[in-house]
């Protein structure tokens, strides 16, 4: 991935250099449309056949005051001719639409990296808002990077002048001008973006044309600058070849969409309608949005009055014979906790998706973290076990959601599916799977009393109790959160009964380990000096770091755990076959603690809780440190 030679502004004109991979970050005011620019540049990367990973990074405020440091919105994309697993450590190119964007992002730029700045926005007022005493475009403070500054604002205004837009509206086309320039820089086709603009502004042809004009103007600026037109600054051009990929149909997918599709797929494989109870929360709301458009798939969505009602309604729906699903982020999951206990006690199927964000409390709503593992595995009153699955990337959420539905319906249990803000928002290429290869796992509702009489808490060989739809004659029964008698489900507080029921609930969830795949080693040998163990969205940086370390000859393997609870049966033995184990996590060491507890291995933590994903280099350093 991103090991490209720095882009060189002084390279010979006309010669398009080829790079293995490039990391570009678009940064601007939250009203500048940087997420849109990034999204469309991602599309163009996909169409160019690059592998890629993106990292949208935006403020919690919807329209933060213009020009402020906290109002900066950024979108990073790493695209390459080889496998790309992360959004890239340090950008090769930073597009800064104003002083605040420059100030908050330039520190991440690679030494020698390229800054493209809109000098039109570097007014005294904006400089002051960004807390610059001097104009950094002029004072030489950006000396360790290559700087290309020109008045993108004015160039945009000039380009869209024929369309008679107001000044404010005209300046909104700046992002398309910038995108046009980026398309030229990376040798990309403009037509798909033009098609998209025509579609987006189908009802306002003037706006469509103005944006297209801006896009074209940005693109031709690159061309004319290249041939040394007076008044222009030459801009380097790079070509990134298509990454080798298996033949087939691909698409870009975000974690939120993958969750929605995976849940729908899971319910189809199970043969049950889905009831989704949700309450708006960042960054989980997009799952509710996506599912609310899929009613023809037997999906009912319910925006409840609060997080508790969202899960309680889902539990009610599961009781009535649909699969209840709810989704939230850490603070909302905290509110749902008592109801999760009810689902555990009543042994009803339920899927709970937690798109984790920085905590505690409201924390960092738009930033990513993996700090809800304890909450997922341990965070309930009483001995209240439930299976926990964690997705590693946007597309992986699809399969994890299917797995969550399988476990919930086959074992009559709530299941927690962990994603995070990064996974939910980021996009990656996804080879569209062939649904016919997924094995169905149809649910069966009890229709009549079996021989020996109906026992609401009787169990099958997986220790799952029967699922009975209210409305079924002859199977009337009552369930609830009070401890129930073995088999009958009647209220029972007897000491021996509570012991037996607690043991049964634990044994049922523990037994899921017999029905999940063994833990594999995703890179490296099954024994050796060092295992780097990860879960969730740290997959990308860990994988690349291990790859690099192995390329240097280091004896290191990557183990990525999807089934957080119960863990695969062979995991303990696998970990013990390594001399050392390190666990990089975006928390203060939660999986590390679970591994130590479960297997008495001396797992060492590697932690980061800045709201930003790990850099590959950070994990590489940890690997080298552990082997030193």
């Amino acid at each position: 991935m991103a090991t490209a030679a720095p882009l060189d502004a002084s390279s010979t004109p006309h010669a398009v250099e080829t790079s293995e991979a490039v990391v570009v970050r678009f940064a601007g005011d939250s009203g500048d449309g940087m997420q849109l620019t990034g999204g469309q540049f991602t599309l163009s990367s996909a169409l160019a056949g690059n592998d890629f990973a993106t990292f949208p990074d935006f403020p919690a405020e919807i329209r933060a005051p213009q020009g402020t440091l906290f109002g900066v919105s950024a979108f990073q994309i790493n695209f390459g001719a080889t496998e790309v697993d992360t959004a890239g450590d340090a950008p090769d190119v930073l597009v800064a639409m104003n002083p605040a964007a420059l100030k908050t992002n330039v520190g991440d730029l690679k030494p020698g990296g390229l800054i493209i700045a809109d000098s039109g926005e570097f007014s005294a007022r904006n400089l002051a808002k960004a807390e610059y005493d001097e104009n950094p475009l002029e004072d030489g403070s950006l000396g360790k990077w290559q700087l290309i500054a020109f008045n993108i604002s004015q160039l945009t205004l000039d380009a869209v002048k024929p369309f008679g837009l107001g000044n404010k509206e005209a300046l909104r086309c700046k992002n398309m001008w910038t995108l046009g320039l980026a398309l030229w820089m990376f040798d990309r086709d403009r037509q798909p973006i033009i098609d998209w603009l025509n579609d987006k502004f189908a009802k306002n042809k003037t706006l469509a044309d103005a944006n297209i004009a801006a896009l074209n103007a940005g693109h031709s600026y690159g061309e004319t600058a290249e041939i040394g037109q007076p008044g222009t600054v030459a801009i380097p051009q790079r070509h990134v070849n298509a990454a080798p990929a298996e033949p087939g149909l691909y698409r870009t997918i975000s974690g939120a969409d993958a969750a929605a599709y995976g849940l729908v797929a899971g319910c189809q494989l199970a043969g049950v309608p889905m009831f989704f109870g949700g309450y708006p929360i960042t960054p989980a709301s997009s799952i509710l949005h996506a599912l609310s458009r899929l009613k023809e798939y037997g999906v009912t969505t319910f925006q409840a009055e609060d997080e508790i009602a969202a899960i309680a309604s889902a539990i009610g729906a599961s009781y009535a014979g649909q699969l209840g699903v709810t989704s939230s982020s850490g603070p909302g999951i905290a509110l749902k906790t008592e109801a999760i206990g009810l689902a555990i006690m009543t042994e009803l199927p339920l899927v709970i998706v937690n798109s984790q964000r920085g905590g505690p409390s409201t924390g960092l709503p738009t930033k990513t973290e993996q700090s809800d593992l304890y909450q997922a595995v341990y965070g309930r009153n009483g001995d209240a076990p439930l299976p926990v699955i964690a997705a590693r990337s946007p597309s992986d959420v699809f399969d994890c959601a299917i797995e969550a539905v399988r476990l919930a319906t086959q074992f009559m249990t709530p299941v927690m599916l962990l994603t995070d803000g990064y996974i939910a928002n980021a996009a990656e290429p996804w080879k569209v799977p062939d649904m016919s290869v997924y094995k169905p796992f149809p649910v069966s509702f009890l229709g009549e009393a079996p021989e020996g009489g109906f026992k609401p808490y009787g169990r099958d060989n997986k220790l799952a109790r029967p699922w009975v739809k209210p409305g079924t004659p002859g199977l009337l029964h009552r369930i609830g959160g009070i401890e129930k008698q073995v088999d009958t489900g009647h209220i029972n507080y007897a000491p021996a009964n509570h012991q037996a029921m607690t043991d049964l609930r634990k044994a049922k969830v523990d037994g899921i380990a017999d029905h999940i795949p063994d833990q594999d080693v995703c890179l490296g040998n099954a024994s050796g000096k060092l295992a780097v163990v990860g879960w969730g969205s740290t997959f990308g940086p860990i994988h690349q770091a291990v790859r690099r370390a192995r390329a240097k000859g280091l004896d290191v393997s990557h183990i990525h755990i999807r089934h957080i609870w119960p863990m695969p049966k062979n995991l303990g033995d696998l970990l013990k076959s390594f001399d050392r184990v390190i666990v990089p996590e975006m928390n203060t060491g939660q999986l590390k603690t679970v591994l130590r507890d479960q297997y008495l291995v001396d797992a060492k933590p590697v932690n980061k809780v800045s709201g930003q994903p790990f850099r590959i280099a950070e994990i590489e350093a940890a690997i080298e440190g552990a082997l030193a």
Partner: protein, 336 residues
């Protein structure tokens, strides 16, 4: 409620084999009996009937009904019931709750259930006290209630369940008390109403708040009961008194009725669809006024479950669900 083929059952058929665990003399027994008597009269089918409750003394109710039942968690019965009803609108859903369950910890859900108008019956057993936690004052306790948590008397103003329900947008509001002979009729009317039917049932907690409703429930005090009936004048105290409108102050007033001449006394004829009068009836201060009981308000409108299902069907109409094509859409490209 639902249109169901009537089946013949007897009250006995609605009893479970579980031992009832309320305190001897608790008003809940009378309510349980009244509900079990109501079921045969409405032709209910046990397997299509679901009782959903929260937490508290009243919420043990589902264990004693030979139906489907879900004893959920504190305050959340309306939310669970919403999921049940949306997942299967064929079910006849009854919510059993109390004053703490519905108006304190679950006030939010009660409000939204009524606002949305989910088709179900909400029976709120109001004993003005927390019984199961041993007698703390509740959101409906009167000011000055001495309890373990308010040894010097409570200082907060009580919530009025029926006023809350009307304020939340309920389309059916009724009131009765545990041993009132009219309770079965009130429950039948609640069941007959399509939409959320809210019934406040004053319930005597013999252990922690005994006789708190004696001011109108005691035999000697029954002149203080105003049973309203659609199309009938609002008369009480053996038809010697009535409720009239003070047209200047725009408030209700108590008037004397002599020789049955209620019309000349200006007594109002009850119209269950008159929302403004319903608000006034539930706000009447007890003492100067009688306690208004019966069907205070009944004016149906389309239900939430019908609307959700209709929208689901409309949105799905003409679309052929094909997951393979769904996931194959969006920003796609082909690698050869």
């Amino acid at each position: 409620m639902n249109d169901m083929t009537p089946v013949k059952t007897s009250p006995k058929d609605w009893e479970t084999d579980q031992e009832v665990r309320w305190c001897p003399g608790c008003g809940d027994y009378a309510i349980l009996k009244a509900v079990q008597r109501t079921m045969p009269e409405i032709g209910a089918m046990p397997e299509k009937t679901v009782f959903v409750s929260g937490i508290g003394c009243s919420s043990r109710f589902p264990y004693y009904m030979e139906t489907y039942g879900f004893h959920t968690i504190h305050g959340r019965a309306p939310a669970v019931a919403t999921g049940v009803k949306l997942a299967n609108p064929e079910l006849d859903v009854w919510i059993i709750t109390g004053d703490g369950d519905a108006l304190s910890i679950g006030g939010n859900h009660t409000m939204h259930l009524l606002r949305r108008n989910l088709d179900c019956q909400v029976l709120l057993f109001n004993n003005e006290i927390y019984g199961l936690t041993k007698g703390q004052y509740s959101p409906t306790s009167r000011e000055g209630t001495r309890s373990p948590s308010t040894p010097f008397g409570s200082v907060d103003h009580p919530a009025r369940p029926c006023a809350f329900a009307l304020g939340a947008g309920a389309r059916f509001v009724a009131r009765a008390y545990d041993v009132s002979k009219q309770l079965v009729d009130v429950l039948k009317a609640a069941h007959g109403h399509r939409g959320a039917a809210f019934v406040e049932i004053f319930q005597n907690c013999i252990v922690y708040n005994a006789d708190v409703f004696a001011g109108f429930t005691e035999k000697a005090n029954q002149d203080h009961q105003l049973w309203v009936e659609h199309g009938k004048p609002m008369l009480f105290a053996g038809e010697t008194k009535g409720i009239a409108m003070d047209t200047k102050a725009l408030t209700l007033k108590v008037v004397d009725v002599v020789d049955g001449n209620w019309e000349s006394a200006g007594v109002i004829v009850h119209d269950v669809t008159n929302r403004a009068v319903a608000h006034m009836l539930v706000e009447m201060p007890f003492g100067p006024f009688p306690m208004a009981l019966g069907i205070l308000y009944d004016d149906p409108m389309p239900t939430f479950d019908e609307a959700v299902i209709a929208q689901n069907e409309a949105a799905a109409a003409g679309k052929k669900p094909n997951l393979q094509s769904l996931i194959s859409k969006g920003q796609t490209w082909v690698v050869d």
